[in-house]
Symmetry: C2
Subunit: 114 residues, 2 copies
């Protein structure tokens, strides 16, 4: 059991949420509900086009979905997919914690012997 990988994790999802601006976009969408690229860009230190590109990335990995409405495009987070992402974050975090605890126990055991 010990040897291998935390990386059952899908790298596409990770690099989607690894980007700070994209994480902030997700936060904004969670806070205020569906929104457009333009309105989101007003709440961030980047241009509308940068936001649009990030939303395209998030859309490709399924974390958000777009709904055209007149001349606007409303983006909303996809609950199921973000839940998956959150689960992966917790999984990696917990795995690291567990390993660190094991290492610590071993270190303390060695100290005792010494």
């Amino acid at each position: 059991m010990s040897a291998s990988l935390v990386e059952d994790v899908d790298d596409e999802l990770w690099s989607a949420i690894g980007e700070p601006t994209r994480r902030r976009l997700l936060d904004l969408l969670l806070d205020s509900g569906p929104a457009t690229a333009t309105s989101l860009s007003e709440q961030l230190p980047v241009t509308r086009q940068a936001v649009a590109k990030h939303l395209a990335v998030l859309d490709r990995v399924g974390l958000v979905t777009a709904t055209p409405s007149g001349r606007e495009r409303h983006y909303r987070v996809d609950r199921a997919q973000l839940e998956r992402a959150a689960a992966q974050l917790n999984s990696v975090g917990n795995t690291w914690d567990a390993r660190l605890r094991r290492i610590k126990r071993i270190a303390e055991a060695i100290d005792k012997v010494k």
Copy 2:
């Protein structure tokens, strides 16, 4: 309390662990203990130089520390800093989960009324 930021999180730490290769390096170091850039690169699909650069990044944010020993340089993970990183992952994951649950409750309430 609700409105703002998950981003007390330091972005440097996040982008350090957001990189897939760096995450794998941390996993390898956790699995097998201290190791050199060369030995790590043999277990990854990238060159020694790429690994060396990633280790330099991890070193700058304090996630690993280097110990020169003769002609080799041994890298080990820094427990305290990785613990911080793991805590941040869990924190973001949990925050998302919480918000998703709230949204779901609201959605169900609306369904009932309808």
